[in-house]
Subunit: 495 residues, 2 copies
């Protein structure tokens, strides 16, 4: 064996990968399949395995192996692999097992109850569980912060986008806040003069599902290594060898579920195309959640809402849902680029979406850094929704601060990933369009290879080989540059 | 703490229970949800957790705690609980971890490939994987046998029905072989004079599923703690808090899937009604697989195929599948008691079923005890099918020795449980009928409480409190008495 310590680490991480397989499956099932009565037993089982993984990573013997591996004359690939192992190991060793278990249990309980509480607009009921989730997240953030020297919130955010700082985010989001409100107003004025034909409901759910499957097929989803199901909150779960995406249907509207499927398929193809020889190691997994969102948003925003892609799938829409005046390519494009400030982030249009993210970023950052308490959230939410989007959410918890699952299970620090992802995606497509000036013509006739080949070569198969900043620069020739995002939005909404 | 060593054991077994939750879920998903491409990763993940459970049970420290618990002045309930812990612990400690892992991997691989091989009638392809499954099962049987003093086959059988011997089985099955062939012939002669109206296909699968759910509801299935799905081979899986049953549908016939659902619902209600305060301990789990089958067969054979029950659910059949001449209660009863020697065990009628079981018992016993080799199975199968049922299976592996999943994953010793279960079920119902001479009238109007209350009090909530023989004697007032089975069959098929 060339690198005995490194090989020993690989074997430990392979074991963890297998345990995580079962956790991922259990989490998918909990959201997509499990009846309510199974939740306590499921939560306990998942927590138990979570503790075991934590114990494996905090075993003092592992620290010795890591120290030994650092002394080995590793090749550059192994060095990158070791770097990612150490990142995961350090993170785990900063948290005591009791905190990990308490967080899993509190998060599982709170997010399970939230499903009913949200439907009942029951903020007080939610708060009773949520205070504990926040308390534990702050405890985690403090522990991480003491080690990293970052602020508590930054320390949580770095779980999802390592290397990102609040200073950089403030700069980026500050820039967006400069031009976005005006861009939204201009786009709304432009669209006020246009007429959009509304699609006539109902749309049978079985037909919507078939349409979704057909669109996934066009997008290259490997059905031998994944499934499409239904859950309350759509997500991409499972494991790289078996990716489980979900959507939710309503008979009143097919457009959200269809585009939701396009979005999750972007996540799925990233997972399905991770390098199989290292997929059991941290270096073989997705780079970060922001890069993950850059895949779903490449699919949904850059590709999915483009007139060229809508021209490609329009025949599928007609095949599964019947012919309608609303199903002309031009009208579908209008539906999918309609700008309307509204309550729900996951239903928001591309242009108002960043405002939702900035609102959550500002609230969760203040919450974790201890500047506000959970009780303060509704008032702050109401105020910011009014300022950023002119929307009144007072008393409307269901469509206000209870709308997202992220806070319910303690995933603070995730939200910025969405808008960072949108910016990365815009930057990828600027690069792809430079390489393929005829990109739209090729998309319209079903030749998606220029996109998928580029993503596969530059992002998917690179996994965690490079730090995010280097990944982006290698792929696009420059660091993260939000100008591409602004240019994309301006081109799409004002041209 | 009153019994510190016993309490420590309880905590260890609770941990194991939680891990088994995840294994049960992964197994259900593998059969009901997972796409093919996920199988290798799934098999590896399940094997890894299987090894961990095995390591937990074979930890030398556990032996010391068990020794200490034996010295504690336990109450009789705790003594029974300790007895069941020791049974599981002894079993695990007889097998090295490498064997457990190899068995899981070989069984998972063989049964996964079997799905395709069976469809292709590919015995040779199956044999290539199956030889390894047999080799490992023999190794396991040898190790168990050295400890128990039982024969290798008996040692495997005792995993499913502890306390049962080949001598007793030979006596029981020998008895059945005396009278069954003649009873089959007499029943066929009697039925030759009767006309049965065939149900007119097709039956939409969505409608069959709705019918199945309605029947489950009548049978008291708790949908807040379980689901109905589809798999290639129907089974009852999941965990007591969340029981997953499956069926398979064909548009050509609804009768098999409907009665299959009745069967699995019997398994499910046993699981759903295990005592919740001890369900995480071996003493709180199902007594044995034969007792488990006695529940499914109480539901399917004693209750489900009775004219009274068919009268109860006949309106549901008409509601979901439409009105047909074939759906008269009298005709449904004829369909569900039709005797016809045929290929497939799971599709066999009540009367020919024991012949299928005896055939498998004789072959697998010879295989495990080393009297025959895997290559010998088809010839032996052909011969016994001819003798017991007059059915020609030569060259027909798909409907012959490739039909069952049990051998594919190494579950040798299970088959006798089916017929033992049928005998226990007949004995339960003889007892219930003595208590309730008006049972059939009550069933017909939907009052199933006499059955469910008795099963709940005498079997479900007793879990593994007593050895099987004592459980049966406490419940029915006498030891296993196959005369009840014969009397039931004679009454149903010749009266």
């Amino acid at each position: 064996m060339q690198y005995p310590a490194y090989a020993s680490l690989s074997s430990t991480f392979r074991r963890i990968y297998r345990f995580e397989h079962l956790l991922a499956l259990a989490g998918w099932d909990q959201a997509a399949m499990m009846p309510d009565g199974g939740n306590d037993a499921r939560g306990a089982a998942m927590a138990e395995l979570g503790v075991l993984i934590h114990q494996t990573l905090t075993d003092p013997a592992l620290a010795e192996v890591i120290a030994a591996a650092k002394q080995e004359e590793l090749g550059s690939d192994e060095q990158a692999s070791l770097r990612e192992m150490i990142r995961q190991w350090e993170h785990a060793n900063l948290l005591p097992a009791s905190l990990v278990e308490a967080k899993t249990l509190a998060g599982s309980h709170c997010s399970h109850e939230w499903r009913t509480q949200r439907a009942n607009n029951d903020w007080d009921g939610f708060l009773a569980n949520f205070r504990e989730v926040v308390r534990l997240a702050r405890e985690e953030a403090q522990l991480l912060s003491q080690h990293s020297g970052l602020s508590p919130y930054e320390s949580l955010m770095n779980k999802y986008e390592p290397g990102m700082t609040c200073a950089e985010l403030d700069r980026i989001f500050g820039d967006v806040k400069q031009w976005l409100p005006d861009l939204i107003q201009q786009a709304m004025r432009k669209q006020a003069a246009e007429s959009v034909v509304a699609a006539q409901a109902p749309f049978a759910i079985a037909a919507q599902r078939e349409l979704g499957l057909a669109v996934m097929d066009k997008l290259g989803f490997d059905f031998n290594a994944g499934r499409l199901d239904v859950s309350h909150h759509p997500f991409c779960g499972g494991v790289p060898e078996d990716v489980r995406i979900t959507t939710r249907y309503t008979e009143d509207d097919f457009t959200q579920s269809m585009m939701g499927i396009v979005h999750e398929t972007g996540h799925a193809r990233y997972e399905q195309n991770l390098p199989r020889d290292t997929v059991h190691l941290p270096v073989g997994r997705a780079r970060s959640m922001a890069v993950h969102e850059s895949q779903s948003l490449s699919f949904e925003m850059q590709l999915g809402r483009s007139p060229a892609f809508l021209a490609l799938i329009q025949p599928l829409v007609c095949q599964h849902l019947g012919e309608q005046a609303a199903f002309s390519v031009e009208n579908l494009a209008k539906i999918y680029t309609r700008v309307k400030p509204d309550f729900i982030r996951v239903d928001a249009d591309e242009l108002t979406y960043p405002a939702h993210v900035i609102l959550r970023y500002e609230i969760e950052r203040a919450l974790i850094d201890g500047e506000i308490e959970p009780d303060d959230i509704p008032a702050l939410w109401d105020e910011k929704m009014q300022v950023y989007l002119g929307v009144d959410t007072r008393g409307n918890f269901k469509n206000g601060c209870l709308q997202d699952i992220h806070w319910t299970d303690g995933s603070f620090g995730y939200f910025p990933s969405y808008t960072l992802g949108a910016m990365y995606a815009a930057q990828y497509f600027a690069t792809i369009r430079q390489l393929h000036p005829d990109l739209d013509q090729r998309i319209a006739v079903g030749d998606l290879a220029p996109i998928f080949d580029w993503l596969k070569a530059n992002i998917w198969t690179q996994a965690s080989r490079w730090e995010t900043a280097e990944l982006i620069e290698r792929a696009t020739g420059e660091p993260l540059n939000p100008a591409h995002f602004r240019a994309h939005l301006t081109q799409r909404y004002l041209a």
